[in-house]
């Protein structure tokens, strides 16, 4: 991706006197301008039923976000404009013209927002209680450019086409899809404080999804697996991929005949994936700086620095500078939320959020928080089009008293017996979660659900006998809860660390994140029926299962 001329155009635009913003009498002085250029080049294809069903190559997507602030750091008005119509080629003049056409309207928006903010201050003192924007020392940085491996695309087309054909032989499988994405991203950030930052990112992504229907009630059963990495070498090999597909098929077949888990509250164990998503939803989002002072937020942890908010063995860190993580399998994997500078030109910093259960810090963008006089810590993030706010990056949970897997299971069984329950629930694999930070609730969407039998008993649904410690696959449920109750119900965490890379959506758009955590056990969590559709299965046999025989 060529960017030299575009970068020069932005720098020249900023320093060109002729381009300085035209102020009318009585308007506020502009004090800050920033330009965030995001270029994304994507190769993507989707395979299903042994064929490529969708593809796009060298697809270019460029966005430019222009931000202008008027007034001063103490009280300002901010205006921003984003365009997706930006030169794909590295064209100096075209870029200059575009900057010329966008900056004055952004300034105009900033003036309007300044007046609106003054108007808001008539109804409430709130906008005046804190500074509007933090100043930071400008940084000049240019990433060492990585070369993407284009040969990978051809090779993976063949592997995934063949892989998707493996679902054909199984009449129970409704669909099997494998999607490959190679994404190269370039971020150029320049501001009038003197910052000039060029960062590059190459991401390799593989999404695998297969589905079936349960004959008993028509529940749509979905199993997914994904590999998101900044290193192509961390992608599975062909044989490994085939094994995963075979596991997905087998698991779906087992799920079809698994009994439906009834809703209720149970002792629960989360695998590392679900523990990561839990911390992301119930703690991470609630520690994002902007959420500490908006009127409509639940303020779960507002003003709680120095207070105990979790069991004393819980430690939580968000570290965008962390590139690699070695999990329980001994393999070092790239962390998907890694970056060096945030989308406001601030150097990324490791932030200790919880230490031994006590809250230490919030995640901060350049928007200061009332009563928390701390400089920004490099978490102002956006998708290139929305206004940045504080977001998570690589969120890592660790226990000061890690327990073995056997001990965690013992803990779960002990809880079951204490609560007179035949079994506890183990959740494995995750399709993500979501949380409402204003109403204080969350949901998690685990992929596999097992009962762990706490005593020898007969399952009344299936008539099968289970012995203490045995696991039984069930289906049809997900998790609902409120943050503090769940945190306080956490009894222990393991040491089987694993990363869970993903994308997180919030007000500032979708950003890349990564979680790292071990398994965890809870005394009680509410389990509710999931929202999968329940429809009639296709009564006809799948053609791929009889056409081959006919031929």
């Amino acid at each position: 991706m060529k960017f030299r001329n575009k970068l020069k155009a932005i720098l020249d635009h900023i320093s060109d006197d002729q381009q300085s913003l035209q102020r009318k009498k009585g308007e506020e002085e502009p004090y800050f301008e920033s330009y965030l250029l995001l270029s994304r080049k994507t190769d993507e294809f989707l395979c299903s039923n042994g064929a490529i069903v969708d593809e796009q190559y060298s697809s270019d997507d460029n966005t430019l976000r222009v931000e202008v602030r008027v007034g001063d750091y103490g009280f300002d008005g901010m205006g921003s404009i984003t365009t997706g119509v930006f030169p794909i080629t590295d064209d100096y003049t075209a870029t200059r013209n575009l900057l010329w056409s966008l900056t004055q309207p952004a300034y105009h928006h900033a003036q309007l927002n300044y007046l609106r903010k003054c108007r808001d201050a008539v109804d409430s003192e709130q906008p005046l209680r804190t500074r509007s924007f933090s100043s930071v020392n400008p940084v000049e940085f240019e990433d060492k450019m990585k070369k993407r491996n284009d040969s990978l695309v051809d090779r993976w087309q063949k592997v995934l086409t063949e892989g998707s054909a493996r679902f054909n032989e199984h009449p129970e499988i409704l669909s099997g899809r494998l999607k490959f994405t190679l994404e190269e991203m370039m971020k150029v950030y320049v501001n009038t404080e003197g910052a000039s930052i060029v960062q590059q990112d190459v991401n390799y992504m593989l999404h695998m999804e297969a589905s079936a229907r349960a004959p008993e009630d028509g529940e749509h059963l979905v199993v997914t697996r994904r590999y998101l990495s900044k290193n192509r070498l961390q992608f599975p090999r062909k044989k490994e991929l085939e094994n995963v597909i075979d596991w997905m098929i087998l698991h779906l077949k087992e799920l079809r005949s698994a009994p439906v888990q009834s809703a209720g509250q149970y002792p629960v164990m989360f695998d590392p994936d679900n523990t990561e998503v839990l911390f992301h939803e119930i703690v991470g989002h609630r520690l994002e700086g902007e959420r500490q002072e908006r009127d409509w937020e639940g303020d779960t942890f507002e003003g709680s620095i120095g207070r105990k908010i979790a069991p004393d063995f819980v430690n939580l860190v968000d570290d965008p500078t962390r590139k690699l993580f070695r999990g329980v399998d001994g393999v070092e994997r790239t962390m998907f939320g890694h970056y060096l500078y945030d989308d406001e030109g601030v150097p990324a910093k490791k932030v200790v959020l919880i230490k031994k259960g006590v809250l230490q810090n919030y995640l901060l963008s350049r928007k200061p928080i009332v009563g928390y006089d701390v400089p920004p810590n490099g978490h102002g993030r956006c998708d290139g089009t929305e206004d940045p706010i504080a977001r998570m990056s690589n969120l890592m949970a660790r226990s000061s008293r890690p327990l073995s897997q056997d001990k965690l299971e013992e803990l779960l069984i002990e809880q079951c017996l204490r609560q007179d329950k035949d079994y506890g629930i183990i959740f494995k694999g995750s399709s993500g979660g979501h949380t409402d930070t204003s109403d204080d609730n969350f949901r998690l969407f685990p992929q596999q659900v097992y009962r762990l039998w706490a005593r020898d008993a007969v399952d009344p649904q299936t008539g099968k006998r289970f012995t203490k410690g045995e696991q039984q696959l069930v289906r049809g449920v997900e998790v609902a809860g409120t943050p503090l109750m769940i945190l306080n119900n956490m009894l222990g965490m393991g040491k089987d660390y694993r990363i869970w890379p993903g994308h997180c959506g919030a007000e500032s758009g979708w950003v890349k994140v990564c979680g790292a955590a071990p398994s965890s056990v809870f005394s009680k969590i509410e389990v509710i029926p999931n929202s999968a559709d329940r429809l009639i299965d296709n009564p006809h046999p799948k053609p791929s299962t009889y056409l081959a025989k006919k031929r």
Partner: protein, 566 residues
């Protein structure tokens, strides 16, 4: 035909239109799909409203009437429904002919809507798993009934109540921190005439009296999070019999209590979100249990089929074993803990579909034993039991007089000791006592309720100093705090219910807002039922910040307290 007036004329017009619709109302392209059930309910209301503020008052009398039409359309054994409600353009004894024209128009509209709904249900049935859905489209038949009640009188003096209102609201004038205030009294005389295609004729007459005393103030000092919060305090009285209305002295006392509560709340420290043992007084407990139970029961009969699996089945363990819940529509009165005998709001003989209201054991020893039902058949539920209510444009099940019964009770002091012991075992400085209920809502998507108590107090479990105020507290002391809302998931919350008080009290619940994808999707019944509940003790409950609206306080001082005033 002679144009008869009065009850006879109304019923005669209804019968005539029902007969015409049942025998001849057809879509030209699908004549085999016919009305299976038609009902008309004419409700007339006479309302007296008394408003007062700052010692001044005014009153208004209003009359209105509306028609609710239910038409169920389909082939036999395969029926769907429609329901319609609209105001009438006339009130005083509509003539038979005028009423027939109105019924003809509404029936035509609702027949067409019901017909489309029938086809929509057929579509859904084709793609939905048969095992789950096939039985859910039938409609129970019923025998005809005839019941006619005489018209009730308001039984109050308008002049006396205006004087009381003025006396109370004059108290608000002197208080510099009160920003808005008011007294509103509504007296509603409601007459309902129901005629349906079963041949039933039901005329009922009811009275509703409501008094709302409200005041708001803007916080100007204390914690920065609290400044500019608009704090609202109020007292409400909802009764169905004039003898249950508060006396003049009681209303004045309630006004003084509002002022006292407001002064205390403005000074109270802000409570941070936490998870602690909680005692709820009967009013808080009634609203909480009603919110949770109502939601779980109505989800089972949900028109939002996406959610119906979240509801309960008979035999499900939901409450602790010491709790039973029974709904008693025939109970007219209840003796409150203070010895006052009051009329219950849920007393009723017949529901909106002409079915006699019967006793329902809803929870027996902690397990689900029965459901409030309409005439719509739901798999696994019993016969209709007289709980159908018109709600917006639907017919939904409701409750009447819901009695919470407990076999594990203790006196107030013992409940408090339990709470303190739990705090001590967990190392908490305090638990909470939550009093009254301002509002409650249930988020269907998130399976989560939220409830705002009228007042929230910390109950200190040991001698300690409140680090925010510097105040010293001893074991058992109560401290008022602000910004408290209870939040939780229903089954999880009920699993922490450990004991109840002995102070069974009849409470009229406020309606529960039901949210779906964060948007309001309507309200679950409030006002026309009673909940009889004791105090409850939960070993754990999560409390969050209440989201107050904010506004800048007045720029000039209160005119009667301005030292520089001219």
């Amino acid at each position: 035909m002679a144009d008869k007036k009065g009850l006879e004329g109304i019923m005669s017009a209804m019968h005539a239109e029902i007969e015409r619709s049942m025998s001849r109302l057809r879509m030209p392209h699908a004549k085999e799909i016919v009305p299976q059930y038609v009902s008309y309910c004419l409700t007339t209301n006479e309302t007296l409203s008394i408003d007062s503020d700052l010692g001044c008052s005014g009153s208004e009398r209003k009359k209105d009437a509306y028609i609710e039409v239910e038409v169920r359309v389909g082939r036999e054994g395969d029926i769907t429904s429609g329901h319609y409600r609209d105001m009438l353009g006339f009130y005083d004894s509509p003539s038979q002919d005028a009423l027939r024209v109105v019924l003809w128009r509404f029936t035509d509209d609702i027949f067409k809507e019901a017909f489309k709904d029938y086809l929509r249900r057929k579509e859904r049935r084709m793609e939905t798993h048969t095992h789950l859905k096939e039985e859910q489209v039938h409609f129970h038949t019923a025998a005809s009934v005839r019941h006619v009640e005489g018209r009730k009188q308001a039984g109050i003096s308008e002049g006396d109540w205006e004087a009381i209102a003025r006396e109370c609201t004059a108290l608000f004038r002197q208080h510099p921190h009160i920003n808005t205030s008011g007294f509103e009294m509504d007296v509603e005389l409601e007459t309902r005439i129901l005629v349906n295609s079963d041949g039933s004729e039901i005329k009922t007459s009811q009275r509703f009296y409501s008094i709302d005393l409200d005041a708001s103030a803007i916080a100007v000092s204390g914690d920065s999070r609290k400044i500019e919060n608009v704090i609202e305090v109020g007292r409400q009285f909802y009764v169905t019999h004039p003898s249950d209305l508060p006396t003049r002295q009681e209303v004045v006392k309630a006004t003084e209590d509002v002022l006292e509560d407001m002064a205390s709340l403005l000074e109270a420290p802000v409570q941070k979100p936490c998870d602690r043992p909680v005692i709820g007084d009967p009013e808080f407990s009634a609203q909480l249990l009603y919110t949770i139970l109502g939601e779980l029961l109505i989800s089972r009969c949900s028109y939002l089929h996406y959610l119906e699996d979240r509801g309960l089945k008979k035999g499900d363990d939901i409450f602790p074993g010491f709790i039973s819940v029974v709904d008693l529509p025939d109970r007219k009165t209840f003796t409150q803990p203070d010895g006052n005998r009051i009329h219950l709001n849920g007393h009723s003989r017949y529901d909106a579909q002409g079915i006699p209201a019967a006793r329902i054991d809803i929870i027996r020893d902690g397990k689900v034993a029965g459901f409030p039902c309409t005439r719509e058949y739901m798999a696994g539920l019993e016969l209709p039991n007289g709980r159908a209510r018109f709600s917006d444009d639907l017919v939904v099940p409701g409750v009447t007089n819901l009695f919470i019964r407990s076999s594990r009770t203790a006196l107030d002091d013992d409940l408090k000791e339990q709470l303190i012991a739990e705090c001590e075992s967990k190392g908490y400085d305090y638990g909470f006592f939550l009093e009254g209920a301002l509002s409650s809502e249930f988020d269907l998507e998130e399976n989560c309720y939220m409830m705002t108590p009228r007042m929230a107090y910390r109950v200190w479990a040991r001698d300690a100093v409140d680090e925010e105020t510097g105040e010293k507290f001893s074991r058992g002391d109560m401290q008022l705090v602000s910004d408290v809302q209870a939040v939780g998931n229903p089954k999880m919350t009920l699993s922490y219910l450990k004991m109840t008080g002995e102070d069974f009290t009849a409470v009229v619940p406020s309606e529960v807002e039901r949210k779906f994808f964060q948007e309001s999707s309507g309200y679950f019944q409030g006002g026309d039922c009673s909940i009889i509940s004791p105090s409850t003790y939960f070993s754990r409950m999560e409390v969050k910040k209440e989201n107050y609206s904010k506004t800048r306080p007045p720029l000039l001082p209160h005119p009667l307290h301005d030292k520089k005033r001219r």
